[in-house]
């Protein structure tokens, strides 16, 4: 067997390289920066992320791949689909840094590793969207997850933080093993792990291919917190430091969906007849469990955990619709963009209220916020409306596109489930609004400038996506078309 050096075009993976390299540089620099200048770490991190973001935006419209083995397909592709998602990931990273700075200081968690782990996790997410080979998907998944395991336990020696890290790690490892099994079976049935080749051969794979598909679904469903693979979510979200929860609830979820969309839409569309009902079933269960159980949560982090489960359900609807509707993938992409701003905005408000680690996170702490901090309360109310899906918010536009794609894909019943569960979700989202405005209360609020900026920017972005969804959806559509073309080209 001859060893072949794969052809390389490192320029197009530069954003990932910047993020990873930046993390390593920070790790080295750690030794040389004096103690009193450690507060630079977040801003340095931000600089790296912004550089990568600029580089990524520059790649919009580029369509190509690299790490191409002889006679094979590239392992890493850069197309608008990947670029769109990378923008989401980098924005997630930037906003997370913004909400972390003050929070880490006041909770005594301000250790520089935090930001390095964040960078490594972001690089994993970015690779999820670019991976064109199941092996790379798996590597990216682990690169994304392992820093998150550590970050969940970052509030040691607080027991619930350690417990959350342990649970996340154990269950993550368990589901990863099923996922690897799925990859192995795919290789067994098609003789390849490269997605374009899988596409060519999967229809002849028979039963083995279907079993592999089932196991891949399990792996992704775990990562995006879809029922019944969601049970870790509330415990981990509650135990992890709130900034990590915010990061996970967006980044890890979108990362999971990034790879899931690429694998299922680009490589397995021929098995759609089999997996679409399965994904639709998982979506239904997820929507019901997430939205219903959220109602009885007294802790806002747990409530948002169930809420994030529910939103995984809505994106799952788009995934299920993406085989038979041209707008399924773009609906999912748009939904995730809107979800990024809304959810991080809501978490920023949660962080403002969490004046001490683990305190101020109960729903009752939101009583009277409308009087104490009218702007913050207004923003929170707006985020809650967006999460419910009331116009004019990004959340509404997202749901609108998702349900429309579902109807186009002959999944009317799934859209109806989505609408009904959205109505149910109003029950717990609007309760936050109700508590903020209808009661009096005295809770401490810590809102520093970076946090206020984050809340303002995310609210503005949510508003823009709600009022003028058209141009952004067109962008998402460009991003989605690209994927399909890649498939057609082989």
């Amino acid at each position: 067997m001859e060893f072949q050096v794969p052809s390389l075009n490192l320029l197009i993976v530069l954003p990932v390289l910047i993020v990873t390299g930046w993390g390593m540089l920070l790790m080295l620099a750690e030794f040389f920066i004096p103690e009193e200048k450690k507060s630079w770490a977040p801003w340095l991190t931000m600089l790296g992320l912004v550089l990568a973001l600029i580089q990524t935006i520059g790649l919009w419209g580029y369509n190509g791949g690299t790490f191409t083995p002889k006679g094979g397909a590239p392992m890493v592709v850069v197309d608008n689909f990947a670029t769109f998602l990378n923008i989401i990931f980098l924005l997630t990273g930037i906003l997370t840094v913004l909400i972390s700075i003050h929070y880490l200081r006041r909770t005594g968690l301000d250790r520089p590793e935090y930001y390095m782990l964040l960078l490594f996790s972001v690089s994993g997410m970015m690779l999820m969207g670019m991976a064109n080979d199941l092996i790379l998907v798996f590597l990216a998944l682990e690169l994304l997850s392992i820093p998150l395991y550590i970050l969940s336990g970052f509030a040691w020696p607080r027991p619930d933080s350690e417990e959350s890290a342990m649970k996340y790690f154990l269950l993550g490892a368990f589901s990863s093993s099923i996922f690897v099994f799925g990859i192995a079976l795919t290789y067994g049935s098609t003789g390849t792990t490269s997605l374009p080749l899988v596409l060519e051969r999967i229809s002849d794979a028979g039963m083995l291919g279907l079993v592999a598909t089932a196991m891949l679904i399990v792996g992704f469903a775990f990562k995006v917190a879809a029922a019944p693979f969601h049970m870790w979510t509330p415990d981990v979200y509650e135990g992890a430091p709130t900034t990590v929860t915010a990061f996970m609830s967006v980044g890890a979820k979108v990362g999971g969906f990034a790879a899931m969309l690429r694998v299922f839409v680009a490589a397995l569309p021929q098995l759609g007849e089999a997996w679409v009902p399965a994904v639709a079933g998982v979506a239904t269960l997820t929507l019901i469990v997430g939205n219903v159980v959220a109602i009885v949560q007294p802790n806002i982090k747990r409530m948002l955990a169930y809420s994030s489960i529910a939103h995984a359900g809505y994106i799952m609807i788009a995934v299920a619709a993406s085989v038979n509707s041209p707008d399924g993938v773009s609906a999912a992409l748009f939904y995730m963009l809107a979800y990024l701003f809304t959810n991080l905005g809501a978490f920023a408000v949660v962080i403002a209220l969490e004046h001490k680690q683990g305190e101020g996170v109960m729903l009752d702490d939101y009583k009277g916020l409308g009087k104490r901090r009218p702007w913050l309360a207004l923003a929170m109310a707006y985020f809650m409306l967006s999460l419910t899906g009331v116009p004019p918010t990004g959340g509404f536009s997202g749901k609108f596109y998702v349900f429309r794609a579902a109807i186009e894909a002959d999944l009317l019943w799934l859209a109806i489930v989505g609408v009904i569960t959205s109505v149910i979700s109003g029950y717990y989202y609007l309760r936050v609004v109700y508590l903020m405005y209808m009661y009096d209360g005295e809770g401490e609020v810590v809102a520093n400038r970076a946090l206020v900026w984050t809340v303002g920017l995310t609210a503005l972005a949510t508003l823009v996506l709600g009022l003028l969804p058209g141009p952004w959806f067109d962008m998402a559509r460009d991003a989605a078309l690209q994927t399909v073309q890649m498939v057609a080209g082989g």
Binding site: L210, T213, V218, W232, A278, I295
Partner: protein, 751 residues
């Protein structure tokens, strides 16, 4: 290729929006930091934004000229699009002569009023909020006139309604003697009355979209025209209707929308109450711009109205919708003109006068005299803004006089206290009551002169602006619709009479109150805009002078150019019905192009007569004191000895007329429209429905269902929550079971 500035159109909206943001976000801080410089910043920033929008309008005007008046659509982006339903509404600007005319009026008069308001609102605790609202109003008004589709027009329509509501209730904490929040109530009344019209607008838009598949002006009009020429029917699913009857419905609904916004019968009731707002608002929104949007709507939709006219379709066989528009306008003009006789509040006289003049414009538009309607709209914007601002100056002066006495009595000067239209003192002094004025011509010279010009322009005295525009409407009426002509002529007589009465009561005679004796002239920031408006009120008629003789008209045909019919030559490029007439598709009633001495002579004689009657006969030296009743209300003894004609007049005409006016004011206006129609029918229906919706439908029905569903969901949630044990092994089991189920399903699928 001539230069053009069409691309600048979006700036029209950007400038006012910057003003809103500045005054809404930071204006207050400036004022808190330093009252005087802060006010200057806040007020001038808003004014400069308004002026910038005016500059953009002027650039658009020049571009249109160098572009041979061709309409231009500046497409910004697709605003709403549902491709599967063929629904597409762009956010695009319609730059044509009609919309640019409106833009120039809105931003030009608007800028002057902004500047005036800097002086008028001086010392108000919510100074910057006021300017934020004014800029917001400009923003929405410009959306209204610049949109290229009915939906954008409707966005502006609703937006200006909102601003009107906010500004009428600007001093929302004011209460009357009974402790009722009268300003807030007035704002609410305006809002509710406008909702009725807006509902009609929504129906009209739905019908338009259904029939023509678009909401953009150009496609709707051309599609309607195609269908008219081919005689095609409009299909509504199972049944279909003729184009004429569909358009009758659409145009009638537009008319209802216009009666709400432009204060016509039956929805005019809100406008007199709207005078509770600050006077610059009355001038800008409730006289010069917002209330004319109903006329803009009708003129913009001229093709639809003309098709109805040409098709001969009628409402239940009684009257065609354009004729209905004309009759409603004429009736409103007369009714409001009569009611204005009985008012004592200086602003309420102007308010009823505005209703009356809007009636003139609506009547003109209904008769097909679109240019005349726009002409009157423009001149009316000049002189009515002038009159309102002048009345504001009078009120301002009266308040100063009142403060002066007050300070005098207390032995100290009062400076920098907030002023308002109804500044309440312990003695219940009302600075707007004309009975307490008198003799102001000496105390407030500038205001007097400009007010005089405005009043004469409104009364239609040669050669001021109002004469030319009113005459064009009357001349059109005399050729095409005699009933409307007669109604409007009587209304014009009323106009001259009540303006004469007002001039006399406010400026002539002796002061009837200490405040009037000590009134002071307003500052330059207020009087300079008044002078500019006065100039416009004098010269405005030059915009559309008719030919003075047949001979000039014929020469003009051979040598086009010159000063005649400027506005018509300008507007005919965007009033599509003109072209249709040339093509012979519809017959647009032609406005006489040559000056008609008969019509002008009659109206001038009547107007001068009414002025003289008011000035030298009825109010010759009346009233002498503030408490003395209006001579129209009682018959003064001395009249009998002077002239038998006067005796006749006073014994029969005055009481009869008086009773009619009083009856109209008390019974028809208040008892019927205000109390019965508005309070009983509209408000009670609204409240009743709200009650039904809140208590029956919502509490019993919806809440019952929601609570039921809620408790069910809670029970389900608690049940599912049992599985959330906290043990990792149980979670792993869940993952395992999930995997097994999925595997089972896929294996089942494989077989």
């Amino acid at each position: 290729m001539p230069m053009n500035a069409f691309g600048l159109a979006p700036l029209l909206l950007v400038f006012p929006l910057i003003g809103v943001l500045f005054n809404g976000l930071v204006g207050r801080r400036f004022i808190v930091a330093n009252r005087n410089t802060g006010e200057k910043w806040s007020g001038w920033f808003a004014s400069v934004m308004a002026l910038s929008a005016f500059m953009v309008s002027v650039l658009l005007f020049l571009s249109l000229r160098s572009h041979e008046y061709h309409a231009e659509v500046v497409h910004l982006f697709d605003w709403l699009a549902i491709p599967s339903a063929g629904f597409r509404v762009p956010w695009a600007f319609q730059i044509d002569t009609l919309s640019v005319t409106m833009m120039l009026v809105v931003t030009g008069v608007g800028s002057l009023i902004h500047i005036y308001a800097i002086g008028y609102m001086h010392g108000d605790p919510n100074f910057s909020r006021f300017f934020a609202y004014l800029n917001l109003f400009l923003f929405f008004m410009l959306i209204l006139v610049s949109g290229n589709n009915y939906l954008m027009l409707f966005v502006g329509w609703e937006g200006v309604g909102l601003c009107s509501f906010l500004l009428i209730g600007f001093w929302f904490d004011k209460v009357n003697e009974k402790g009722e929040p009268m300003n807030a109530n007035a704002a609410r009344k305006a809002f509710v009355a406008n909702r009725v019209g807006d509902f009609a607008m929504i129906l009209a838009m739905a019908l338009t979209f259904w029939s023509f598949g678009s909401l953009e002006f150009e496609p709707v009009f051309s599609h309607a025209l195609e269908m008219f020429e081919s005689g095609e029917m409009v299909h509504f699913g199972l049944f279909s209707a003729s184009l004429g009857s569909v358009l009758t419905a659409v145009t009638t609904l537009f008319l209802i929308g216009a009666t709400g916004k432009s204060a016509q019968i039956p929805l005019y009731v809100w406008l007199p109450d709207a005078m509770a707002g600050p006077t610059p608002v009355s001038a800008l929104i409730h006289a010069a711009t917002m209330v004319t949007s109903g006329i803009y709507l009708i003129v913009r939709s001229n093709v639809l109205f003309e098709i109805v006219r040409a098709s001969g379709a009628t409402i239940f066989g009684i009257v065609s919708s354009p004729d209905l528009v004309a009759y409603i306008g004429a009736a409103t003009a007369l009714l409001a003109g009569l009611i204005a006789f009985t008012q004592f509040d200086i602003k309420k006289v102007l308010a009823y006068s505005t209703v009356s003049q809007l009636g003139f414009m609506i009547a003109a538009a209904g008769m097909g005299a679109y240019v005349a309607a726009m002409f009157h709209l423009i001149t009316h914007a000049f002189f009515k803004a002038l009159l309102f601002l002048g009345s504001g100056s009078v009120i301002h002066g009266m308040e100063h006089g009142h403060h002066h006495i007050h300070a005098h009595n207390h032995g100290k000067e009062v400076h920098g206290t907030p002023q308002g239209d109804t500044h309440h003192e312990e003695d219940n002094f009302d600075p707007q009551d004309m009975r307490t004025m008198g003799g102001l011509r000496y105390r407030m010279k500038t205001t007097f002169i400009v007010y005089m010009i405005g009043a004469l322009a409104l009364a239609g005295i040669v050669p001021l602006a109002g004469f030319w525009s009113k005459d064009e409407i009357l001349a059109h009426g005399s050729e095409h619709n005699l009933i409307v002509y007669i109604l409007l002529t009587i209304a014009a007589v009323c106009t001259a009479f009540y303006m004469g009465r007002q001039l006399k009561m406010v400026f002539f005679g002796e002061p009837r109150h200490e405040a009037a004796a000590h009134a002071e002239e307003s500052p330059a920031v207020m009087t300079v805009p008044l002078m500019i408006l006065a100039t416009l009120a004098v010269l405005g008629g030059g915009l559309n002078l008719p030919f003075l003789s047949q001979g000039i008209a014929e020469t003009y045909h051979e040598h086009p150019g010159g000063v005649f019919l400027g506005l018509e030559g300008w507007l005919e490029h965007s009033i599509a019905a003109f072209e249709l007439t040339e093509e012979g598709v519809v017959h647009l009633p032609e406005t006489p192009k040559v000056f008609s001495p008969g019509v002008a002579g009659i109206s001038t004689i009547l107007a001068v007569g009414a002025l003289v009657l008011a000035f030298y006969v009825v109010y010759a030296n009346k009233p002498k004191t503030a408490e003395e009743p209006d001579p129209l209300q009682s018959t003064p003894i001395w009249w009998f000895s002077v002239l038998p004609l006067n005796t006749l007049y006073m014994n029969y005409i005055v009481p009869g007329f008086n009773r009619l006016a009083q009856w109209l004011a008390d019974k028809v206006d208040w008892a019927f429209w205000h109390d019965f129609f508005h309070d009983r029918i509209i408000r009670d229906t609204f409240v009743g429905f709200a009650h039904f919706a809140a208590n029956i439908l919502d509490l019993k029905g919806v809440d019952g269902m929601v609570n039921g569903a809620g408790s069910l969901a809670k029970r389900l949630a608690n049940w599912i929550r049992q599985t959330q044990t906290g043990y990792a092994r149980n979670y792993a089991l869940s993952i395992f079971l999930g995997t097994v189920v999925l595997l089972a399903y896929f294996i089942f699928m494989a077989n």
